[in-house]
């Protein structure tokens, strides 16, 4: 057990958090700029730590690929950089005694109907990638994806990494309307449109799940650090499960 703690400590201290000010009402913690799924659990862990501190100065804690940004109240905050460095120190000392977060290993299974009427870019992608539609579906449902961050619109989760065999760049000209529940690919990322909106991602299917619910007790289906696995369902199964407005 002691051996185990030592190993964990060693892994965590490898992350060297740095701080920069972002204007007059935000500070940003950052790691080296790379899309690395190994960094996600560390970012989630630091995010959860800051959240648990219930700091009155902080209005928002926004994690992303390699950063955590704090939006603060100018009237309550004194010495933001010092404040941020203290947080890192406190986190590091606490991190060394904590067990890794069990939640990180939870996998959320998400049904997707890859019907061509929903996956409106499947036929074009199949030609371009020189793969059958079934092969694209098989590859998309094989990986376990991690949520790197949320943004673009409420509940939109940027997930990765998509197998290089089916990576496709987003459309040069975004569509005016993409339906709620649409599952898309943009390069190494995959994601689901929570509501009807304009969008440029390559659409390969649709989930019947409601991804964002205005009910304050529900809100976003996904959060940063979640693990997602897609599975294929038929059109009939989609119709019986559908929670979105058509």
């Amino acid at each position: 057990m002691i051996q185990y703690f030592k190993t964990m400590t060693k892994i965590f201290t490898n992350f060297n958090w740095k701080v920069q000010a972002l204007g007059d009402h935000a500070i940003q913690f950052y790691l080296p700029e790379k899309m690395d799924s190994a960094m996600i659990s560390e970012i989630k862990c630091f995010h959860d730590f800051i959240f648990s501190q219930q700091l009155k100065e902080i209005k928002d804690i926004i994690p992303s690929y390699h950063t955590i940004t704090l939006i603060y109240d100018i009237e309550l905050m004194h010495e933001p950089i010092e404040f941020a460095n203290d947080l890192i120190e406190k986190y590091k000392s606490q991190r060394e005694i904590d067990l890794p977060n069990k939640e990180v290993n939870k996998i959320i299974e998400v049904p997707v109907c890859y019907d061509e009427n929903f996956g409106i870019d499947l036929i074009n992608m199949s030609t371009k990638l020189n793969l059958s539609i079934n092969e694209i579906i098989k590859i998309h449902t094989e990986n376990i994806y991690q949520v790197y961050c949320l943004g673009f619109m409420p509940g939109f989760a940027y997930m990765g990494d998509v197998n290089i065999k089916i990576q496709t760049a987003r459309h040069a000209q975004p569509r005016k309307n993409v339906s709620a529940g649409s599952v898309g690919i943009a390069g190494a990322q995959t994601g689901i449109y929570p509501m009807h909106s304009p969008g440029g991602w390559q659409i390969i299917g649709r989930t019947p799940f409601k991804i964002f619910d205005k009910d304050p007790a529900i809100l976003s289906k996904f959060k940063m650090g979640d693990q997602i696995k897609f599975y294929s369902i038929t059109r009939a199964e989609f119709e019986s499960l559908n929670e979105n407005e058509l």
Partner: protein, 297 residues
């Protein structure tokens, strides 16, 4: 586009929910305080051509921010002053004389549904025949309660705030993480050339017109959080300044943030008047913000 706004919705940006809230928070706070409401009370935010309002009972109202030439039953009324309205009075806005965003406060609580601790809505706007009940609020107007010294000191503050927002063509910012990725020529252009707001401006962001700017090398950045006032450089060389309804994260070069106390200046800046950028440090920006907030306490 006219909406109901308050100070915005914080604590949910990590799941992609934009903060929203009033664009020119100084004018909104001013209109609230003048009628005796808390400074962060919900308020009507108006853009020209603005909605007209019919009052179903007597109220105390105040209009601050942009001057759209407000007219009550065909008689013009002044800004930044409590106005008594009676049953069946009609308020119209005639022309966009000064500024871009106007605020209408009504003494009392505007009865509307809050979502996640805020009444700011990023999708719905005021529609014809919308009705709002005003719930009476305890407490007197700070301005009417004491007609001598306090009124004078408030008046002085009102003028200071007005001058700060409308009489300055200098907008100050703090360089951001990608400032040093700009070419020297671009840096010099930002600091020396005039910029204008464009008609392509809304509650999400203001696109600026000015010298074309470029990065030393074409680069893509991993998305990270942005905030109100963030200056993003778009791939076409244009600058966009993010406003209340901004996306929570962004992947364009973040070259700086306009300081919070100067953001109302940009909000109110019409496209025909050029302005200039200058650099300021965070400490000065924060102390000016706090100083300005003292006017409302």
């Amino acid at each position: 586009m006219d909406t109901l706004q308050d100070k915005g919705r914080y604590g949910f940006q990590h799941i992609g929910i934009p903060p929203c809230g009033y664009l020119d928070y100084l004018s909104a706070q001013l209109a609230n305080v003048i009628v005796g409401n808390p400074k962060e009370a919900p308020i009507f935010e108006l853009h020209f051509p603005a909605s007209s309002f019919i009052f179903n009972e007597a109220h105390t109202i105040c209009i601050s921010g942009a001057n759209f030439v407000p007219v009550l039953n065909d008689k013009s009324i002044v800004l930044n002053t409590p106005i008594q309205v009676s049953k069946n009075d009609i308020l119209h806005f005639m022309q966009p004389l000064l500024g871009k965003t106007s605020y209408l406060s009504i003494k009392g609580k505007i009865d509307s549904i809050a979502w996640l601790n805020s009444k700011s809505d990023f999708s719905s706007q005021l529609k014809t025949n919308d009705q709002f009940n005003i719930i009476a609020r305890d407490g007197e107007s700070k301005i009417n309660s004491d007609k001598t010294e306090e009124q004078e000191s408030k008046q002085c503050n009102i003028n200071d705030i007005q001058k700060h927002i409308f009489n300055s063509n200098e907008i100050r910012f703090i360089p951001g993480p990608q400032w040093n990725d700009l070419t020297n020529e671009s840096i010099s252009n930002i600091l020396k050339q005039p910029f204008n707001t464009s008609l392509n401006s809304n509650r999400m962001g203001y696109t600026l017109k000015g010298p074309s700017l470029e990065l030393i090398e074409e680069k893509s950045y991993l998305s990270s959080a942005v905030t109100r006032g963030t200056m993003q450089l778009l791939p076409n060389g244009e600058l966009i300044v993010l406003m209340a309804n901004h996306q929570t994260i962004g992947g364009y070069a973040n070259i700086g943030q306009i300081i919070l106390v100067d953001l109302p200046k940009l909000v109110q800046h019409k496209s025909d008047t050029p302005f200039r950028f200058s650099i300021i440090n965070a400490e000065t920006a924060q102390s000016e913000y706090k100083q300005m907030q003292k006017c409302f306490s």
